[in-house]
């Protein structure tokens, strides 16, 4: 499983298999410039591969007031 935490919403979800950061963003309905994808304190570009066991933070960037 890949564990994903969405910020700032605080929602959590799990993905059953490996994919890329781009695929993850697409599954979340986000554009490539809509969110940071973070693993172990490192930013991932859309082509980076996510592996089983990864803890990923997806942080949307749009400020709301």
């Amino acid at each position: 499983m890949i564990h994903v935490r969405l910020e700032p919403q605080g929602r959590e979800l799990r993905l059953p298999k490996a994919c890329t950061a781009l695929k993850l963003l697409r599954e979340l309905g986000l554009g490539v410039n809509s969110a940071l994808v973070i693993r172990d304190g490192e930013l991932l570009t859309p082509d980076r591969r996510l592996n089983i066991g990864d803890e990923i933070v997806v942080r949307t960037v749009a400020s709301r007031g």
């Binding site: 700032p8 490539v32 930013l43 400020s63 007031g65």
Partner: protein
């Protein structure tokens, strides 16, 4: 993906620039965008005292850091809105950040002005985001003028500017279109205003803030749910996904071709400003918007049963 400059593993991909950067080279790119904006629009002179309006979000704190690193004389002003579940964190982020950089930060508390946003929201029927924006602009301008700052800088980014331009265009609001831009010159009763981050998107600033370890607030304002600007931002975000560079093209081409036309139009229709009869700040009405808000809040407080 590889970094365009040093070929190391990239951390940030920028489709609109058709490039990517590693964690070391990316902040250099961001800094160059801000330097270019300041230089191109003559935003800040070396001897200017700069007041940065800070909210605790990524944009204004990143702007503070960049201006400080570029050698400008930077001071901060935070307006504490007194919104439960939001303002305490925002203020703490500003205070912590300025303390870390060793820069001076002033705080205006709207509660002390009798204008805490929850109180204003409960007493005034207008959309709270526009009222809150008006109050913040008023206090930023007032503080800058009363404390001898020659420039007031805000962290408005390309997405903010494009959303605002688009909203003004949807309404064909010629008056607002005539003076929208990254620099608003000083005028009687108004401080000079600059937006050095206008060439950077929210995504670009968020990446910079992350890589530079800026501890900013992430949660949005609890009152912003019905604001119109997220609608425009989403719309432009979708457009940008399909047409890389659309945002910057829309905005820069407006500055080059559109704004001069509206500015010429406005010269003939300018409503004269005069001092507000209550506070003395310029207004096109007899009493300025902030003083009218203050009166409405006070009137509601005096009404029996409220």
């Amino acid at each position: 993906m590889k970094c365009r400059k040093c070929k190391a593993l990239a951390a940030v991909a920028l489709p609109s620039h058709n490039t990517a950067f590693c964690p070391d080279c990316y902040p250099v790119f961001v800094r160059s965008q801000v330097e270019r904006a300041i230089h191109r629009h003559k935003m800040i002179a070396p001897d200017d005292r700069v007041l940065v309006a800070v909210s605790g979000g990524k944009d204004s704190l990143a702007l503070t850091l960049l201006l400080h690193e570029l050698g400008h004389d930077v001071h901060g002003l935070h307006v504490d809105l007194d919104i439960p579940g939001s303002s305490t964190d925002a203020r703490a982020a500003c205070e912590g950040f300025f303390a870390k950089l060793g820069l001076p930060l002033a705080v205006v508390e709207l509660r002390r002005e009798g204008l805490a946003i929850p109180l204003v929201k409960s007493r005034i029927k207008r959309p709270i985001c526009s009222v809150c924006g008006k109050l913040k602009r008023h206090y930023f301008n007032k503080f800058a003028l009363e404390n001898g700052f020659s420039v007031l800088a805000t962290g408005h980014n390309l997405d903010d500017e494009v959303s605002r331009l688009f909203a003004n265009t949807v309404r064909w609001d010629a008056s607002y279109l005539s003076d929208q831009g990254p620099v608003l010159p000083a005028a009687d009763g108004f401080a000079r205003k600059v937006k050095p981050m206008y060439r950077l998107t929210e995504f670009e600033i968020a990446n910079f803030s992350f890589l530079r370890g800026i501890d900013h607030v992430i949660a949005g304002c609890p009152y912003s749910g019905r604001a119109s600007f997220p609608v425009y931002k989403n719309l432009w975000s979708n457009l940008e996904e399909r047409m890389h560079g659309a945002k910057v093209q829309f905005y820069e081409n407006f500055l080059r071709d559109g704004r001069p036309v509206f500015a010429a139009w406005a010269e003939h229709r300018e409503d004269p400003l005069s001092p507000c009869t209550v506070c003395g700040y310029p207004t096109s009405a007899e009493v300025c918007g902030v003083c009218r808000i203050r009166t409405m809040v006070a009137a509601e407080s005096d009404t029996p049963g409220t």
